[in-house]
Amino acid sequence: MAEKTFDVVVVGGGPGGYVAAIRAAQLGLEAAVVEREHLGGICLNWGCIPTKTLLHTADLYREMQDAERYGLTAEASFDIEKVVSRSRSVARQLNSGVKFLMRKNKIEVFDGSARLTGGGGLVVEKDGETVADLGADNIIIATGARPRSLPGLEPDGELVWTYKEAMVPTTMPSSLLVIGSGAIGVEFASFYRSLGAEVKVVEVLPRILPVEDEEISAFAREEFEKQGITIHTNATVESLEKGDDSVTATIATEEGTVEATFDRAILAVGVTGNVEGLGLEATAATVDRGAIVVNEWLETGEPGLYAIGDVSGPPLLAHKAMHEGVICVERIAGEPSARPMERRRIPGCTYCHPQVASVGLTEAAAQEAGFNVRVGRFPLVGNGKAIAVGDTGGMVKTVFDADTDELLGAHMVGPDVTEMIQGFVVAMGLETTEAELMETVFPHPTISEAMHESVLDAYDRVLHV
């Protein structure tokens, strides 16, 4: 017998979970959140937000070192402890912000881990004790994901890190091996390189940032290498041998096997859903490759059981999770305006230097999908604002369907592109064609003009090349 019942119980207080709970409260549903650690989840406590704090620090530091170029004099140095401490205090501030939002929306938060007991019941357990017995018409699993590990390369938190340790270093490693070149790997490579570490990135696939457009990957790689990051693609780390305060890696590269020693290694080879210990076995929900299987409405095989965010599969992005939370709850509430997410229009951002941002299909994916593709490009060397701020390492690439003139994808690398991609996301959401984009007045001087020029280029009307 449940001691407390709700319309919606969300398991997991990360960005997907707490947003789902707020939306539920807005729609007049009684909502609760079960969180075993920190409200705000990985995103806010150990992911998106604290890493952006670190990366901003790295950007400032790099610019300080570069001060002379601008006619400035600055003595650049850093205290890693203070750098990390600022990142933590930002996370704390936002964490209490989420607590406030829960209170404001009258959402009850249960501290502990949830376990489904079937039939809309779940128990909350803390330190092995049952602390609450809940019932809900609708249960949303939003437990997120954790780093995947590879056999023989298991992180130990001391010498072999995951993102979590990499975010709170107590000393600055002088050399670092980054295994995996997705967003997480590349961001840490960028951060540690900016602070002066020797960084080597090893990627099993033929290129870094494998989900991005090939040209963007290549462009970013060139920029990283200019900064002194060494990159091995088509390469695998075969073993890690731990020393007292170092790790020695055996890396199989295209040129042969090399051995190298690093102060620390970061394992960033992807994540896997937190599907264990939830009692999913007691339900009709199924799990495939570490993710709970859901339909377009985030419904699992079990009536009244939903899964959103990382635990329901890729793309593993906080904004995807939040949006799914909203859709899922609106579906539960029977909102007529609820619509499934247009998955092709979820943007992705990587905050390394230079930044990378994209939405939609890459050129290769568009071709593979059978589109007659039309591509525009514009390099930031032709952009006045980029020259003015001294950061011309970037480009904008747009991919159109030549038959319908639909904008299929947009890919950007360079300064502030993570803030600008939304222009293309809105455009795609509104189903604009090249005509509206070309007619749009972009403010001068801004780096965003490169977005305009890229569209113009796709239609042979580029102005500044």
């Binding site: 305006s337 319908t404 003139d405 509104l430 189903e431 604009t432 064609t433």
Partner: protein, 465 residues
């Protein structure tokens, strides 16, 4: 010039509002945007914010009910002199008692409703502008409820819906009005030869997306020639999906709302029509030179109007906390069009003669079929008559047009039997179907009204005197 404090109009249906409470005392100082008074209508209550800063002077005390748009007070800026007698106040000072407030408000009305200058830009939100464009609503005609008189999206919608209470005037229903569609959808529709008005939109707010157009082009052609389809019965027929929009949408919402929000029920009563048939024949002959042919509906309208005079409770508006017994008798007549139903109103039916009724109803029906009914042609009905007799219907349950409390269904003229002693006599008869709102009046008075209509029709000379 001091700033007027208006009784805000919160929607087209708002007929009066009450200054429930002044938050700023008479003579007190108010800041811009500060809550000024609490507005109550029979439906909602809301806080009205000050649109200027300065000294507040009350023109009416709290708990005064006035018409929307009336001035209820003034805000004097710091440099403005406050006169002893406020503009719009009755002689004797500003502190009008509630009973005296009405003339004050009335006097203020003329000054308080400054007509918008021709071509003046109406403040409106972007969403409101877009919707207005989509729905073909002239912003200048919309009552604004947004901050500082800004027209909101809801205002446009209300205006549109109000206009659609008289659906023929609803511009959305006008053929040729572009359906909301994305630029890409338009382009695809053009390329594929798809008529957008036949496409159901699934995008946000019913917007037509590229997929909708392609589905319409690829799926069963809804506009397939019916003859061809009939000739090939072996071919599986696709479902036809029709968007519910324009007049259909308005009718759907209003009919549903009527059934949801009132306590309506229907009773039937038979009427011996021999004398009416005879009278109608004579009148047609009498007025043949003028080409005026009174219909049975015209005759029933006249009878109903006279009966409404005798039974004012049926000629009323039920407004929840009060009933408005209407002074005049304006009878709406339902006219079926291909696109839906419109209800033009014949005015003062109790006062004009049958010939004038016949002329007016035929003029309105003509305008309706040409889609030329103006808003004024459809406003102000106090009762409605709806005829299905021409389709052979003997009884139905008309749906009320709130806030009216009665609607009379006119059925087929049929052959019936009357007993004269033991001898059956053939006679013409008709059933009248009266739907009324039980909230406004009970079964007995409703039956008395219906009997009264019957009595007029059975002794139709009374309709001529």
């Amino acid at each position: 010039m001091p700033t007027e404090i208006y009784m805000m109009k919160l929607g087209m249906t708002m007929t009066e509002g009450t200054v429930a409470e002044w938050h700023i005392p008479d003579g007190g100082e108010v800041k811009l945007g500060e809550d000024l008074y609490r507005l109550e209508t029979e439906k909602v209550e809301m806080e009205v914010e000050a649109e200027a800063a300065g000294i507040v002077r009350h023109l009416v005390p709290a708990e005064t009910t006035v018409d929307p748009g009336d001035v209820v007070g003034w805000i004097y800026a710091a440099n403005e002199e406050i006169p002893d007698v406020l503009p719009g106040a009755p002689a004797g000072g500003a502190s009008a008692a509630p009973a005296e407030a009405e003339p004050a408000a009335a006097a203020a009305e003329a000054a308080a409703a400054p007509a918008r200058a021709e071509g003046e830009r109406v403040p409106a939100s972007p969403a409101a502008r877009r919707l207005a464009k989509e729905l073909g609503v002239d912003l200048a005609t919309v009552t604004a409820t947004g901050p500082r008189g800004r027209v909101t999206e809801d205002d446009v919608r209300s205006a549109h819906e109000a206009a659609a209470a008289a659906p023929a005037a609803a511009p959305a229903a006008a053929p040729g009005t572009p359906a909301p569609a994305s630029p890409l959808a338009r382009k695809r529709a053009e390329a594929l030869g798809v008529d957008l008005s036949t496409v159901a939109g699934t995008g946000p707010g019913g917007r037509i997306t590229k997929e909708d157009v392609e589905a319409a082009a690829g799926g069963g052609a809804p506009a397939a020639a019916p003859a061809a389809a009939a000739a090939a019965p072996a071919v599986a027929r696709e479902d036809e999906v029709m968007a519910v929009r324009g007049m259909r949408k308005v009718i759907a919402e209003r009919m549903y709302a009527s059934l949801q929000e009132t306590a309506q029920l229907t009773m039937d009563m038979d009427v011996a029509m021999d004398d009416c048939v005879k009278l109608r024949g004579q009148l047609i002959e009498e007025w043949s030179d003028d080409g005026v042919r009174p219909s049975y509906t015209d005759i029933v309208m006249k009878a109903a109007a006279k009966a409404l005079r005798d039974h004012p409770r049926m000629n009323a508006q039920f407004l929840g906390t009060e009933m408005n017994l209407r002074g005049e008798v304006h009878v709406g007549m339902a006219v079926a069009l291909d696109e839906g139903l419109v209800v033009p109103v014949v005015r003062n039916v109790d006062q004009i003669d049958l010939k004038a009724i016949a002329q007016e109803s035929s003029r309105l029906a003509g305008l309706a079929r040409e889609g030329k009914l103006g808003l004024d042609d459809m406003a102000g009905g106090t009762f409605t008559v709806s005829t299905l007799g021409m389709f052979g219907v003997d009884s139905f349950t008309p749906i009320l047009n709130p806030p009216e409390v009665g609607i009379l269904g006119v059925n087929r003229l049929r052959d019936d039997v009357r007993w004269e002693g033991e001898r059956p006599v053939r006679q013409k008869a008709m059933t009248l179907s009266l739907t009324w709102d039980h909230r406004a009046l009970d079964g007995a008075p409703a039956a008395q009204f219906l009997a009264s209509v019957r009595d007029y029709l059975e002794a139709p000379f009374r309709l001529l005197v």
